[in-house]
Symmetry: C2
Subunit: 329 residues, 2 copies
Amino acid sequence: MASDTIRVGIAGYGNLGRGALAALARCPDMRLAGVFTRRDPTSLRLPDPATPVLPLDEAAAHRDDIDVMILCGGSKDDLPDQGPELARSFTTVDSYDTHARIPRYFEAIDAAARAHGNLSIIAVGWDPGLFSINRLMGEAILPAGATHTFWGKGLSQGHSDAIRRVPGVRAGVQYTIPVPEAVARVRAGEQPSLSPREKHRRECLVVLEPGADARAVEQAIVAMPDYFADYDTTVRFIDEATLAREHAGMPHGGFVIRSGQTASAERQTMEFSLKLDSNPAFTSSVLVAYARAAWRMKAAGETGARTVFDVAPGLLSPRSPEALRQALL
Amino acid sequence: MASDTIRVGIAGYGNLGRGALAALARCPDMRLAGVFTRRDPTSLRLPDPATPVLPLDEAAAHRDDIDVMILCGGSKDDLPDQGPELARSFTTVDSYDTHARIPRYFEAIDAAARAHGNLSIIAVGWDPGLFSINRLMGEAILPAGATHTFWGKGLSQGHSDAIRRVPGVRAGVQYTIPVPEAVARVRAGEQPSLSPREKHRRECLVVLEPGADARAVEQAIVAMPDYFADYDTTVRFIDEATLAREHAGMPHGGFVIRSGQTASAERQTMEFSLKLDSNPAFTSSVLVAYARAAWRMKAAGETGARTVFDVAPGLLSPRSPEALRQALL
């Protein structure tokens, strides 16, 4: 089997890249063939010192050594350029998650991958990703119905960043929390129409700069448009030691609930939920499973951009179709 | 669009067939082109009297009028023969659910479909079906972990049939009920090893024949090997009117929970659950969505047998790939 082992590259070595490296170690059919970084390669400390660490801007020279490249950069600053660039040389998977720009990103990746005979699966993870699959299947199976997505309890990176931009804030995190009453109504099949405020509340834990005005900081946060103004937001002040001790993890999760009717009095409810101690470690585990699928689709002659909607579940598993039918169907 | 409408046949008009007919009415891209039955066609009362009702044994003569045939027969007596026979003439989907015999059934269907250039998706529904997909994805994404499937609360047809074979029993139903403590342990990420008795209990509601010995009936039920002996089983006696009034529905549901670790202290939990007022109406809704996928796979030139593991989620939706990426990703 050694010659069939899928050789995987990791582009970017932050939280996601470290998670992908750990996930690969749990997959005997895959092996880490190299980590690509924009930093000085000698500055990275990997678990196995024998792992090749290479400059990201020389990645293309290693195209014959990598079957699939997992792109572990951020959606805002890294992937819009890196994605299309790396899709010229590699079969790729990425976790691009700027929902509104997915169609444009898809087109850019599709053109690059197609032109160079590669295949790329974009927007892989849990939302977009597993949650998207469940939204699609809920709607396809129960067309008369309504879908609700709830997120949390979990740390929102975007909202935490927004807090940290407020003058007087030294550090802070934001937890998104589903409103239990709303979840209960949706689970009961009510199909309610819910405002953002009715679905989620936001909890901010803030470390102030010395001498900052707590009241002013709180006002600036709760009134911030787009991020907090449309929600019930609580701000709690904590010290730096508490932040480091109790809020260094990145838990997250959520629910996708489809509630529909078949006959008039028949309520049918489908729910998919995640409860994650580590959001990036889980996201990178999803990326690694889709890397396996990407390699298989490329090997079958497919090229261009794909999403999780285009990937048959069986391609994610290391087991053969026969074994899957026998054991898991 | 009319010429692109998928023409669907329904083979067998019991609970599943009626559910498929109702589900098709909610899918504007599909239309019911005929119901095929072993009964006297004139004896069937369909919602739309204009629907063609035809003898099942003459189905092959209508192969040019049907794009996909949904097989709504039973796994024990109907599908083992009907499945391969109809796969010679039609693209088919079915809900074959005898887990242990799936590999053999798959081979029979594959040979028939391949030889005649058709495509068949077998074992579609929720278990096997949606639950199988979630077992597969949980294992592929979190290879270090454990999967538990719970069923219920729901009416089990096989166990209800077993009750009705006990001497002295006039009628009865059996509900399978997950043990809440077991569900809670699994959800909490404990990955416990659970016996059948620890996972589910069984509740039997029985109408006695006049003069039957209640104590003897109860003993015969709870001691029945395979069906009840390995479970905590309760037997409750009710009258026929109560059975008809309160237990005529066929509710069911359950959970697939994957609990895994990424780093040593990181627990990650994925859960898929269903809460169904009507098991057959939901199963047939799943069948109709996979009928759409079967037609598309056949149109793309695929032939042979498939399972839900081979079907990309996007094929289930009437929306275009572009619309799906924009709206649901």
